[in-house]
């Protein structure tokens, strides 16, 4: 097992005993990607005026303080989404890329797909690469299913003759024969996704890069997609798969790369690496309902200049801090934040997801507090009551907005454990077998009504 301690050395390919050395098809050598975050102007589409105004402002500053030798625009901050990533992947390998939000997974995929360039480093890919960062890229709503198959094929790098050859297979797979000549804007979202995936699945690249696309579509179709991807890999093609969904990572990949804050933390057998990934959350869940944030916790690509979240804690009904609650017990979340520049309005929020899945269960947006807040530390509480969460482990993501702009985003930061309430469901083992889902609702079952009676005799 090759484990990259610091992510700086080239990780040699891990050999299983008794197997031939596969040909290396992907070599990633010390790749880094830097983004510049402009704190002054969070708006990603700056206008010329901003550019001029920014320059004028800094010129003015320079004029006033001629001895200031700092660069003209000091509000720009470098952010390394990836730093010195190295690994190799052999032909026919199925490799998962996992990590928390903001770990650099998407950036890595974008670089491998040549959408954006690395700032440093070098990658060598052998063979045709197809990447599926989104289902249906290039689909045009006004065009028919038939037209979109050809268009999407071309976008993904298929030649016209290739698409024509695969056309029937694609249509079969997507189950949309009847609607081939209907504009896709009239498709249901399920049909749309099926068609889009079908085109991509019939590409014949040597290297297939897939990002989380399986999170869409119904379960039957998801299974079909997984099957297709397994098939692709069994034909000796290489599959790179990014996902938050641990069950599909486990079933689909043999090796995994775990990224954390732009570094490779572990490379190796899927089960071991997934275990290591999930352990991060276990430490969260034992954090007894309290967290303080440093820059390392923040998603630095989603920062604003006016404020940041500083801490959070969970309190029970008695005002005691705790990470564990009973089913139905109200949960009080307290969020602490620091305002750096005076703001006119703030809004906070918390998104809750279960530990094992990527699906967000719900978000609690605060009202828009129309209050002038001078720089300083503040806190606010939100009471989750009634608490509809069922027994299980949950992860919280916290957000701060001010003056209509995102200021801070702290992903996967606080763990919340909900324990079974013994007073509910007396026949427990039976109850547990068939009661599914993370949420509990208020529901009222009615009385059983007798609609009609069957004759006692000769009823059969």
């Amino acid at each position: 097992m090759v484990l990259s301690e610091n992510g700086t050395d080239v990780c040699r390919y891990y050999l299983e005993p008794g197997k031939n050395v596969p040909e290396i098809v992907i070599t990633v050598d010390k790749v880094s990607k830097k983004y510049i975050i402009a704190h002054q102007n969070v708006d990603r589409n700056p206008t010329i005026k901003d550019a001029f105004a920014g320059t004028a402002r800094s010129l003015m500053r320079r004029f006033r303080t001629p001895l200031d030798t700092s660069p003209l625009n000091t509000t720009k901050e470098e952010f390394w989404a990836l730093s010195d990533i190295s690994f190799q992947i052999g032909q026919g390998d199925r490799v998962g890329i996992i990590g928390r939000n903001g770990a650099g997974k998407s950036t890595l995929l974008k670089i491998l797909s040549r959408i954006t360039e690395p700032t440093k480093g070098r990658i060598v890919l052998k063979g045709r690469v197809a990447s599926l960062l989104e289902v249906g890229t290039g689909f045009h709503p006004e065009l028919t299913g038939r037209e979109n198959i050809f268009l999407n094929g071309a976008v993904l790098g298929m030649s016209r003759s290739e698409t024509r050859r695969k056309f029937d297979e694609i249509v079969d797979f997507a189950e949309v024969e009847k609607f081939l000549d209907t504009p896709v804007k009239r498709y249901s979202s399920g049909m749309y996704v099926r068609l889009a995936f079908a085109v991509a699945a019939h590409l014949e690249p040597e290297i297939l890069i897939v990002d989380e696309v399986l999170a869409v579509g119904d379960i039957a179709f998801q299974k079909k997609c997984l099957g297709k991807m397994e098939h692709v890999a069994s034909e000796g093609r290489t599959v790179l798969f990014v996902s938050h969904n641990m069950p599909s990572v486990l079933s689909l990949t043999r090796r995994c790369i775990l990224l954390e804050k732009g570094l490779v933390v572990a490379i190796g057998e899927t089960e071991r690496v997934v275990g290591q990934y999930l352990k991060q959350f276990e430490s969260l869940l034992s954090n007894s309902g309290m967290a303080e944030f440093t820059d390392a916790d923040r998603d630095m690509s989603l920062q604003g200049p006016k404020g940041k979240l500083t801490r959070a804690r969970l309190l029970n009904e008695n005002g005691e801090q705790s990470g564990t609650f009973a089913e139905g017990e109200p949960v009080m979340l307290e969020m602490g934040f620091r305002i750096l520049e005076e703001v006119q309005e703030v809004q906070l929020g918390c998104t809750v997801r279960s530990k094992n899945g990527q699906v967000n269960l719900f978000t609690t947006p605060s009202p828009e507090y129309q209050q002038t807040l001078p720089p300083g530390d503040y806190s606010v509480r939100v009471l989750l009551s009634p608490n509809h969460l069922r027994e299980g482990e949950y992860i919280l993501t916290l957000k701060l907005f001010a003056d209509g702009q995102r200021q801070d985003h702290v992903p996967d930061t606080l763990g919340l454990v909900i324990q079974h309430d013994a007073s509910v469901g007396q026949n427990r083992s039976y109850f547990q077998l068939w009661v599914k889902g993370n949420m509990k609702y208020d529901y009222r079952w009615g009385e059983i009504q007798a609609d009609s009676k069957l004759q006692q005799k000769g009823a059969r």
């Binding site: 360039e117 052998k126 045009h140």
Partner: protein, 274 residues
Amino acid sequence: METREIVIEAGRSESQYWKDLWRFRELLFFLTWRDILVRYKQTVIGVAWALIRPLLTMVVFTVLFGRLAKLPSEGVPYPVLVFAALLPWQLFAGSLTECSHSLIKNASMISKTYFPRMLAPLSAMVTGFADFLLSLVMLGILLAVYRVVPDWRILTVPLFAAISVGAALGLGLWFAALNVKYRDFMQIVPFVVQIGLYVSPVGFTSSIVPEEWRTLYYLNPVVGAIDGFRWALLGTSHSLYVPGIISSVAIVILLCASGVWYFRRTERTFADII
């Protein structure tokens, strides 16, 4: 299938880029095909719009400049004079507009897939060209109605069309790339096109421009294209102002070269900021 090796590193080599552009030629075809297909979907009269717009402009300009302002037409029926100029103008204006918006329009593709980004403006150019071909047919009909018979000079039309296309491409590459970062160009381009229609000799002939302003006037490359079209199609009375054409061609070359340079220079960050 041949195994090819792709090397990804900062500042990819220039030669690989142009090879890729060739390799992705089918995508160019499909993007163009998509734009043309989508253009007139869910319209009642469809492609006829491509003809109605220049025809109505022609009528308005004929009344405005020919009848009301009584500008000289040099012996050619005024509608024909206007339409011959509208062709290169619309080729330029249409291509420029499409080209400038091409990257924004394909933003989702740019942030989710790889292809040489120059394909987007190029395919937009082809779409503009398709409209031009349709208008050419319309011009043929007009010439027949007014019994204007062009001579051998009609063979030079492609050259002047190329000036229009080149000017649109050069400027369009600049605007498309700038648009990614500064959406101001969404406002600037329609404005340039609107003003350009009156500044260029579409409703009148360039001969009414005083001699001393000529050199300056021909800095607008479309003037060369329009003059050329009239000279090539309407014959006798129009002589070609050769220095003007040369300056137009020079400007077009300058625009295209600088446009390609700027586009290539900014291209690598498109996906990050679009």
